[in-house]
């Protein structure tokens, strides 16, 4: 076994840049599409397909009309050619004879896709202790462990199903944290969203397992606009995981999701994401545009919302999972690792809006840039007049691999109450050749050395993930930097 000696930084970077995307396969399943383009008829089509009640269609149309008057935001530190919103499909669904009642009725070809992704859905192989909702392009294709959850009174189902079965909850909460007027992509999502997950945890219930949604884009020229709504009623607890992949294509595909979380009094929601959308090839062709609005409302006292994200994918990431700390003593957390390689661009961070008294927030952001990528942290800490004794701690670190990438930090502070305590720490470091050589001298290859350093650097965030996910995320970080995928 001969090991190639990496002569220079240049070659090392070259090697890193040649990493491949392992989840880039395309599955040839029969699908039905709505006609290309976006207009009121398409929205009516989607709503009809979903057999939605009147209030949903009206809400979508209002959102669409509002969106038409809006302009794309330009303030993020990302560059991309104009998107032709008329040149995409807004609805793609695998053709299934009827809505599957159980997993036995799901098309075996679809089950195969998830098997290939390491997310087995069939009864024998289901992941222990994790209930999965699998979303393929525009629709949810399967949800596991529904019965067990139902015994606790927990609702975990595709949002399209919740619209049918629990319209009162959907009507009450949908858009309550992220109104369709919020921003360009949220308005677009509100108009055309086709599926996503819905979770309701009743009063005093601690959800006995991790809930998870696995998003997969399969069809070409399709935008994915999922909508997730999670409600934790008083004194409840839920941990939710989200994963995603897409086939390798040389065109850019749009993903504009909205996630809304509501935590009532004494409730806690832990939301973890491992985002691995196709990042484009090493020359920057193709990849997903990931324009996502995620926001949690700590509605009641002593409530807590914690976001953890490991972002390795997408050509462009535009995403700021935020917390609105309305209830007194509520807590918001944001833990993030964002890794960019080749020509990827990420502008990501969080907003912590302190409204209630004694509210606390914590931000730990770790950016890793390699290749010719650009990685920006953008965060807002806002302490309003009535938020007495609010506290925030922010730590934003950047790690650079090579000298052709960029790392930027844009912290915004708006403090309107003198009793606030706000701390901000930031560091930038580079993986030096000396460190690599030191590790080489101990028998560790350059690739493993970088993985060791990167995982060490990201540890504080990875530790926040549920066990199974932490291991996956660690592997993902290594693979995203590897020269070749074994």
């Amino acid at each position: 076994m001969s090991q190639e000696i990496i002569e220079t930084d240049e070659q090392l970077l070259e090697k890193l840049a040649n990493s491949e995307y392992k989840w880039g396969f395309y599955s040839n399943i029969e699908q039905e599409f709505a006609p290309k383009g976006l207009n009121e008829d398409i929205i009516r089509f989607i709503s009809k397909k979903k057999n939605e009640p009147e209030f949903m269609l009206n809400w979508r149309l209002k959102a669409f009309r509002f969106w038409q008057k809006m302009k794309e935001p330009k303030w993020a530190k990302v560059k991309f050619p104009p998107i032709d919103y008329q040149d995409a499909y807004y609805y793609a669904a695998p053709v299934q004879k009827a809505t599957p009642k159980s997993l036995d009725e799901v098309d075996p070809e679809i089950l195969k896709i998830y098997d290939k992704l390491g997310i087995p859905l069939d009864e024998q192989k289901k992941l222990q202790g994790i209930a999965v909702d699998a979303v393929l392009d525009s629709v949810s294709v399967a949800t596991t462990f529904k019965d067990i959850l139902a015994k606790e009174g927990i609702i975990f189902c595709p949002i399209s199903e919740a619209v049918q079965t629990h319209p009162e909850l959907v009507e009450k909460y949908l858009g309550s944290v992220v109104p369709y007027t919020d921003n360009y992509y949220a308005a677009l999502n509100s108009a055309v969203f086709s599926d996503g997950s819905f979770v309701y945890v009743p009063k005093g219930v601690r959800c006995p397992m991790e809930l998870s949604t696995y998003f997969r884009i399969n069809a070409a020229s399709t935008g994915q606009f999922e909508r997730t709504l999670i409600i934790a009623d008083e004194g409840s607890y839920v941990s939710y995981l989200e994963g995603c992949t897409a086939p390798m294509r040389d065109e850019n595909q749009l993903h504009a999701a909205v996630v809304e979380l509501i935590a009532h009094k004494n409730a806690e929601i832990k939301y973890s994401t491992v985002q691995n959308w196709y990042p484009g090839d090493k020359d920057g062709n193709g990849g997903i545009y990931n324009f996502v609005t995620k926001r949690g409302l700590c509605e009641g006292e002593n409530s807590k919302i914690s976001w953890t994200q490991v972002e390795t994918g997408s050509a462009i990431t535009w995403k700021y999972p935020s917390c609105v700390l309305k209830g007194d003593n509520s807590v918001g957390e944001f833990y993030s690792v964002a890794m960019t390689n080749n020509y990827q661009q990420a502008d990501t961070g969080t907003k912590m809006i302190h409204l209630g008294k004694n509210t606390k927030s914590r931000i730990v952001s770790k950016g890793i840039s390699a290749g010719r990528s650009d990685n920006s942290y953008r965060g807002l800490v806002k302490i309003t007049k009535n938020a007495d004794n609010a506290r925030n701690f922010s730590q934003c670190d950047s790690l650079l691999l090579g000298d052709k990438c960029g790392a930027h930090t844009f912290p915004y502070l708006e403090i309107q109450n003198q009793t606030a305590t706000v701390e901000h720490e930031a560091t930038t470091s580079k993986i030096s050749e000396d460190i690599i050589f030191y590790l080489n001298q101990r028998g560790i290859s350059t690739e493993d050395a970088i993985a060791l350093i990167v995982n060490g650097y990201a540890k504080e965030v990875l530790n926040q993930l549920p066990m199974e996910f932490a291991v996956e995320a660690q592997k993902l970080l290594s693979i995203s930097l590897e020269g070749s995928v074994g």
């Binding site: 190639e4 220079t8 050589f437 001298q441 028998g443 560790i444 060791l452 350093i453 650097y457």
Partner: protein, 251 residues
């Protein structure tokens, strides 16, 4: 069969020739000391042996365990059993000593066709070797060298050496900047790890360390060549007469 054989080695950096035809042979079970004034090429020799890429090899040959060392990547040299205790150990934030050593040991074992070390055995080994170099076990969960004093960093080098059990260990001025207690710990580590089947090359500016580690051979390096070799007494003679004495040799 010699463990390491260096023949007429020439190496330069940025066009400056530093090693100018160096010869050295090290057999299993031996301790060699290499002494010399600043700029004589001591650290260059250590770096070239470990495979640092800043140096260009312009001539000669190095055989390690009957293999062409210069053909091997730095990590493969380590996996073959070559260890360098660095003069200036780096800090690696976020990577614990334990995780770092576990990775290193398992990479080396993989290369040798062995299964990864069992976690319990690994912990056991760590505790035992930590004692050998008198380090506190809390140190094992700290990041590699981060915030360590100069002495702690050097002690950590010896600890790593004890963990990896190399066949050939090169100590590059490990004694520089150490107080007498730390010096004794380093020497003690070497003496305890010494076996019939391994060897040490101790690079030093001062004779001091050799009061505690008794070398089988002492070589004097000057202007890129070994100009004089002898027994441990040579070190004492050098100490007494100074390096100027060697300069005369060069002429």
């Amino acid at each position: 069969m010699s463990l390491l054989k260096i023949e007429n080695l020439k190496a330069s950096i940025n066009g400056n020739e530093i090693l100018k035809g160096l010869n050295l042979e090290v057999n299993p079970g031996e301790i060699h000391a290499i002494m010399g004034p600043n700029g004589s090429g001591k650290s260059t020799l250590a770096s070239v042996l470990a495979g640092r890429e800043d140096y260009e090899i312009t001539g000669g040959k190095i055989t390690f365990k009957d293999k062409d060392l210069l053909e091997m990547s730095p990590e493969d040299r380590a996996r073959e059993g070559l260890f360098l205790a660095f003069q200036y150990p780096v800090e690696i934030p976020g990577v614990s000593n334990a995780n770092f050593l576990k990775t290193a040991i398992n990479e080396i074992r993989k290369y040798r066709g062995l299964e990864p070390m069992d976690a319990i055995d690994f912990l056991q080994l760590m505790k035992e070797r930590a004692k050998l170099v008198e380090i506190d076990s809390s140190f094992l969960s700290r990041s590699v060298n981060e915030g360590f004093s100069g002495g702690e960093k050097k002690r950590n080098e010896i600890f790593q050496m004890a963990m990896l059990e190399p066949t050939l260990a090169i100590l590059d001025e490990t004694d520089s900047g150490l107080d007498i207690d730390a010096l004794k710990v380093v020497a003690n580590g070497v003496n305890k790890l010494k076996r019939n089947d391994n060897a040490f090359v101790i690079i030093t500016h001062y004779q001091r360390l050799l009061n505690y580690i008794v070398p089988d051979y002492v070589h004097v390096l000057s202007n890129g060549k070994i100009v004089k070799s002898g027994s441990k007494d040579l070190a004492l003679e050098l100490e007494e007469k100074g390096y100027d004495w060697i300069k005369d040799y060069n002429q």
